[in-house]
């Protein structure tokens, strides 16, 4: 079995790298440092327009909705090169795959081209203060009223709410049904009357995390819904099927370059730093303990990559894709934490110096990563929940 790339795919990678060198300017990178629009200012939007012109966004998505009808691996190559700079090219998140799988024709034609162009941005509205890992305990209510639903409740960690056009919202539509069977998903415009956003500033906000920090979001939000009316046509999938639609979308979103790179980017960074630095004739690359640790990380990272490739292969062939994504979501974040621990050991006290310190290494990138890496095992499905899914779906064990 060959896990390498074809000559055509290698050519595509080089083309993307050349494009990035020419078009990802300091202006674009400067915008990425701002939190107010999620880094999506005028220069960023112009970049995405050029990427779309090259037909590199939504490569594997259907042509009738603005995609290219191409292969998932080619999309991965493009996403990987941009993700190294912290740039998500088109439709990142679980909303788009969920719409493609469960949306009406009208929803697909409205949302998918907009997600590709960047004109539509989703905030994820699943987690609540009392319903995170136990998401099925959510209390946000949606009550049918004629051709509309009326939504009351709140969502937590809606990190894109301050620059999103819509919120991809999970709400309870049947409070009397078993917990997983009374939930629906809605695509709600952020400018709908009754939506309120309360900012929450994270440990990455002051001093600001440098570009490329793993989970470097400076701002997140909680979002409140008071008698928010949304047309019934904005329900995604059948009423009370939202749990399954949402889980499927989350699963598909766990496949791809962004998720992979979140956990392995620092591996590449620390290897480069170790090789490039010399302290009075002594290079950390000569230290057997450092070499041993980095080789260990490389081995783990290869497992991340192989799991990613397997999942993409399953998706490409339309295979049954359930616990495989959960396995990735356990292995990769725990590897990221291991990498963080290793970097802390290699750099010693320098691993504690944030971006505001003049003596910080790589502008504090590694230190900010120490603060952010641990949440990767919690958000977007905690590793404990993922292991439970693997036990049930992969090993055939009963629901606990």
């Amino acid at each position: 079995m060959d896990f390498g790339y074809t000559p055509e795919q290698e050519t595509l990678r080089r083309e993307v790298q050349e494009f990035i060198a020419e078009h990802v300017t300091d202006d674009v990178l400067g915008e990425l440092e701002t939190a107010e629009e999620g880094g999506r200012g005028v220069h960023y939007r112009e970049l995405i327009r050029k990427v779309a012109e090259r037909q590199w966004i939504g490569i594997s998505w259907p042509k009738e909705y603005g995609g290219q009808g191409g292969s998932r691996i080619e999309q991965y190559i493009v996403e990987e090169e941009f993700a190294r700079l912290g740039i998500a090219v088109g439709g990142a998140g679980s909303g788009a795959p969920a719409i493609l799988a469960a949306g009406t024709e009208e929803q697909k034609r409205h949302f998918i081209p907009g997600l590709i162009s960047g004109e539509i941005i989703f905030a994820l509205g699943f987690t609540e203060p009392q319903a995170g890992a136990d998401l099925a305990g959510l209390q946000c209510r949606a009550v049918r009223d004629g051709d509309e639903y009326v939504i009351n409740g709140q969502k937590m960690y809606t990190s894109a709410a301050h620059y999103a056009t819509h919120i991809y919202l999970m709400a309870r539509t049947d409070p009397d049904a078993p917990r997983h069977r009374g939930i629906s998903i809605f695509l709600v415009p952020m400018d709908a009357p009754g939506i309120t956003v309360r900012p929450l500033w994270t440990i990455q906000s002051d001093p600001p995390a440098p570009i490329g920090t793993t989970y470097g979001m400076a701002r997140t939000n909680e979002t409140f819904f008071e008698d928010v009316r949304v047309p019934a046509s904005m329900m995604l999938g059948e009423e009370n099927s939202g749990w399954y639609v949402g889980a499927m979308g989350l699963n598909l979103d766990r496949v791809g370059a962004s998720r992979y790179l979140i956990s392995v980017r620092r591996d590449e960074d620390i290897v480069n730093w170790v090789k490039e630095n010399d302290f009075g004739g002594h290079s950390p690359a000569d230290d057997p303990a450092v070499r041993d640790k980095l080789a260990e990380l490389w081995t783990e990272a290869q497992v991340c990559r192989l799991m990613t490739m397997r999942s993409m292969s399953l998706v490409e062939r339309g295979g049954n894709f359930t616990y495989e994504g959960s396995a990735e979501k356990v292995w990769a974040p725990e590897h990221g934490v291991h990498t963080t621990e290793t970097i802390t050991q290699i750099l010693g006290p320098y691993a504690q110096l944030l971006s505001s310190s003049e003596e910080a290494i790589e502008n504090g990138l590694f230190a900010h990563n120490v603060m952010g890496a641990f949440q990767s095992g919690i958000n977007h499905g905690s590793v404990q929940v993922m292991r439970d899914q693997m036990a049930r779906r992969g090993l055939g064990m009963p629901r606990g």
Partner: protein, 66 residues
């Protein structure tokens, strides 16, 4: 005025909900210093901040019984 059921502090509901700015795409933004809230059993309960709300959520019955 509402009363934080955990610490007893008075919360001005209007201030907690008052729009101070708008997001890029038109949602109201509020001042986080004015407290937070939760939709609980069909009505909004106000808190001075996340810590009190977290304590409430850990044991709602402790704070809602007469």
């Amino acid at each position: 005025m509402a009363k934080d059921p955990v610490c007893g502090k008075e919360i001005d509901e209007a201030q907690a909900r008052a729009q101070t700015s708008q997001t890029v795409h038109g949602a109201s933004e509020v001042d986080p210093q004015q407290g937070t809230r939760i939709f609980h059993d069909g009505s909004w309960i106000y808190f001075c901040g996340l810590e009190c709300r977290t304590r409430f959520l850990a044991s709602p019955a402790t704070y809602t019984s007469d």
